[in-house]
Symmetry: C2
Subunit: 476 residues, 2 copies
Amino acid sequence: MAELDDNRSSVQDSLQQVTALLRKHEQNLLQQHGLPRPQQVEELLHKQDLAALQKKLDQLHPADVAYILEALPLEERLVVWDLVKAERDGDILLEVSDAVRETLIAHMETRELVAATEQLDTDEIADLAPDLPREVMQDVFRSLSVGEREQLRAAMSYPEDTVGALMDFDMITVRDDITVEVVSRYLRRLDEMPDHTDQLFVVDRDGHLRGLLPVSRLLVTDLDVPVSKIMVAESVKLHPDEKAQDAALAFERYDLVSAPVVDSDGKLVGRVTVNAVVDFIREETDSEKLSAGGLREEEDLFASVWSSVKNRWTWLAVNLVTAFIASRVIGTFEGSIGKLVALAALMPIIAGIGGNSGNQTITMIVRALALGQITVGNARKLFAKEIGVSFINGLIWGGVVGVFAFLIYHSVPLGLVMTSAMLLNLLLAAVMGVTIPLLMQKLGRDPAVGSSVLITAITDSGGFFIFLGLATLFLV
Amino acid sequence: MAELDDNRSSVQDSLQQVTALLRKHEQNLLQQHGLPRPQQVEELLHKQDLAALQKKLDQLHPADVAYILEALPLEERLVVWDLVKAERDGDILLEVSDAVRETLIAHMETRELVAATEQLDTDEIADLAPDLPREVMQDVFRSLSVGEREQLRAAMSYPEDTVGALMDFDMITVRDDITVEVVSRYLRRLDEMPDHTDQLFVVDRDGHLRGLLPVSRLLVTDLDVPVSKIMVAESVKLHPDEKAQDAALAFERYDLVSAPVVDSDGKLVGRVTVNAVVDFIREETDSEKLSAGGLREEEDLFASVWSSVKNRWTWLAVNLVTAFIASRVIGTFEGSIGKLVALAALMPIIAGIGGNSGNQTITMIVRALALGQITVGNARKLFAKEIGVSFINGLIWGGVVGVFAFLIYHSVPLGLVMTSAMLLNLLLAAVMGVTIPLLMQKLGRDPAVGSSVLITAITDSGGFFIFLGLATLFLV
């Protein structure tokens, strides 16, 4: 009985949470965007009415249900998940983050998972596949047609960061020897067109891509004109092995809604649509932000303490190693610090500003590298510019910290050592800020990952060494 | 004569630069994507043939020309800019970054600027307007029709981060009492349809939005069906004053290609298309990255040293203030450091790891806030989780640094002080890492800006205070 009460109060808790989220969500999106907003749902929810909550969930877009699931603690999340209609499970699993998806899948039975997955397109099944238990994938595979199995195998064979992973197979293809009228009649026989169909793909008898037929041209062209006359023969073509990053760049530059994917023989194998590209861009910048913040990967907001600890482990360990090195650099100069304790108070200033300046340079260079703007010809110019900026900043801010040191410790030589150390550390920051990303690029590594930690380590240890070294030479 | 030679060698330099860039660019995009790639252009460029370069530039997409201009140092950039056909100037100015746009506009005469601007749509003119000289805008304004002036005035009246600034006016509107056949005949009389027309907008006599007519439905529906039967009545509607960020979220969630913008009376005033949203997302994440790296704004890769110095000033100054504070915290404990110099070498470890851990927490929380996932109900749970993570990390990494201190300085009490200080600083980092972004949000500020600097300042000064304070109490 106690257990039952517990359960009931947990359901009540969860309903209150969901009420709050739904209200917030409606303020955010639904009201503003005029999406359907049934009357009196809030009151129903206040009454802890599971049936009403279920009804409300049924009316929401899968992406909105996903949003609510993401924001709920595990227990409440599973209560809501059980209320979602089974036939929507697949679409919602596609929308949630990897971390939350794992928690939902762990809660489902094999039978439910198979049913949810079977309703998806093959390219969507491929997206879910890595998170699904082996026996589920085997059951799903058996339920597919031969052609679908082929598609699924193809989609699963491409690494996550390639065009192949973004690709879907929902294309309408036509031949180039028919007229606009025939195409129009053909389309009118369809029940519906695939999402994001801004163009039809013109192929020959063997499936080689001959051109693109934008829907907008189809609509404004006279009915008796042949497709071959209005199709666009020259266009962006993607290849399944190409980097997804490059495809995203092409979509951004040329404002595409969809683009064909062809194999090495020029055969049409799929298409990429702008919604897949937008999701890719968001995920990519998201994971850059997370790694810049020192997190290994996306973290379920309500992950267990233990899995959070593991997610943060890597960067803390790296940081600890660089901190130990810096500590040993200072340790070498303990004799000088013992004689002039002011050094201990001043040294973090040199290290800190050096790190700040180095990160500014590295941000510039990493960005320019990502945009492909750095060539052998202009690298030297960039180098000269960064040295110039650091020189001026070194004089200005070095002067400021020199005056600061003088005002507090009344020693002109100490002030001069501060100024020189600042200037030298900023120059070090500029040189390494340009060199590190260029070198990483040359070694085939992503300059965006780890550059910042590396430059901070160098300007820390380097700053301590320069400042304490100069002080040892000239002051003690 | 010497001057002429100088000029000639500069043009040669520039041509070599452009050759390198074009080759690189073609490797990146053109070859892979099968865009037209004229034969023997490279050889022509090697021969320093301006006419051939011009021809090549003419064949490139405006976004590609913009890419090349971005990557060239100022002098070479202007040589290439002069080769671009005047009628393409407007489109290219729209594609380059703000910083590079300024350099190009400064180089153009009023007459040229007016000609370039006049060829653009009103929403595009509004985008350029802030960078154009006043007299240019006056001339352009005079050349517009009354309706266009109204559009331009409307487009310019919205702040940069609102839906109004993303909006364009290229909509096809239809009435709901006509049939699919009438719509089809109407469309066939057009020369072309606006880019990104995935749907027509159904309006009543007074211009109120009644629904949306997706082109894909138009194409699959029988000709005698009336528009009212197949239009989508309930849909996402944007408002011009709404945050662009919210519109971007709606496009991502609901996979939109275009969305109507209506005023408070429900009248259709414009539309937003996915390409504007993609550009917005890219610019936004770009500026977040820049500010995370300590840069005030996007910097022309080849900006003068002086303007770069100014761009980096703000964050260096902020950092200097926090460094001075940390320095004074250490200064308070100079007596203790004088007695036990090891403290100076060990204190940066406590501060550094605290900053790292605090930034991890803040990255999580800022992300969750941006996604709207934090409510009053779950904030307490989050708090408890972060404290838990820091407690475990404090024990583990505190233990590691304690052993490190013991191994080097052979003092158990010193090791214990290290461990306790680490644990306390990580707890401080967790508490402030959750509190700072929530507080900023409450105060109506963007939690993404400045949170990281603030937490680092707190864990630095706090870490020094905790460690040196404990050491003073128990060791000296």
